[in-house]
């Protein structure tokens, strides 16, 4: 088979800047969904700490350190994001699925990022409520997204097939806010 060129989910679409907000694509990362088997949550947590030095995140939270992190992504599931794959031994305790090519990873930065996303999601993203290390599975427009606050950026993950829709929807919100500010 011919060698196919690899492209990122938002290739050619980002970065995008309107007013003080910039939407960009996150770096290419290994992404795995980790879903503990019933009753194996404690075993998985211990195995994660042994192999990677991080625990399985509490609901609506994340854990992490250099090399790999976990963002809670729904009932009994967390998304691994790392420069390498998670330890194969975790498969004793959880279903591991390589989803590296399945998610578009976007970052929204700048003052007022919450106001832009408020047009697309019913979540309260105010920094006093949705703090650093907080995560949510929530609608973004009509998409099912994972949202996470990491230092200065709001990280967004949507299904790869929705990358163009997500960039369009967030871009419209950013442009509207910038236009209002300029009036």
């Amino acid at each position: 088979m011919a060698k196919l060129p690899e492209t990122s989910p938002a290739a050619g679409l980002l970065p995008l800047t309107h007013g003080g907000l910039t939407l960009s694509e996150g770096p290419a990362r290994r992404m795995w969904m980790i879903q503990p088997y019933p009753g194996r949550e404690a075993g998985l947590d211990a195995a994660l700490r042994d192999a990677h030095g991080i625990g399985f995140p509490e609901p609506s939270r994340s854990t992490g350190q250099r090399g790999g992190r976990l963002i809670w992504a729904g009932r009994a599931q967390a998304l691994w994001i790392g420069t390498a794959d998670p330890a194969p031994g975790l498969a004793q305790h959880a279903a591991l699925t390589d989803q590296s090519d399945a998610w578009a990873f976007l970052k929204l930065e700048g003052a007022g990022a919450e106001a832009a996303l408020a047009r697309l999601t019913p979540l309260d993203l105010h920094p006093s409520v949705f703090k650093r290390g907080h995560a949510a599975r929530a609608p973004l427009g009509h998409m099912s997204a994972i949202l996470h606050r990491r230092s200065a950026a709001l990280e967004l993950f949507v299904f790869r097939s929705m990358a163009r829709t997500a960039v369009h929807e967030i871009g419209v919100a950013m442009r509207s806010l910038a236009a209002r500010a300029a009036v």
């Binding site: 609901p59 609506s60 009932r75 599975r137």
Partner: protein, 90 residues
């Protein structure tokens, strides 16, 4: 109306899909049960004026199935537990 998801916190009702009365989760009667008991289990619901319990699926959130206790008269939502834990709480 907001539903307090035990995993996600308070979320808008539109994030959830209604899956029916919680009483339908009880085990069906065995094959030796008289036909009217099986008919009751399959087709008859209580439809209370007041407190009721039903099943909701957090479709655009965490994907959990919840048992929500609410009041059909006041529209108050009293609480929600994970359906997988229904034997231990509420």
């Amino acid at each position: 109306m907001r539903i307090p998801c035990p995993l996600c916190g308070d979320r808008d009702r539109r994030e959830f899909y209604y899956m029916g009365a919680a009483e339908a989760l009880t085990a069906p009667p065995g094959p030796e049960a008289p036909p009217e008991v099986i008919d009751d289990q399959l087709h008859l619901r209580t439809n209370p004026a007041g407190e009721t319990r039903d099943v909701w699926y957090h479709e655009t959130g965490c994907g959990a199935w919840l048992i929500v206790t609410r009041d059909t008269v006041t529209h108050a939502v009293h609480g929600a537990v994970l359906a997988e834990r229904r034997g231990t709480t509420a």
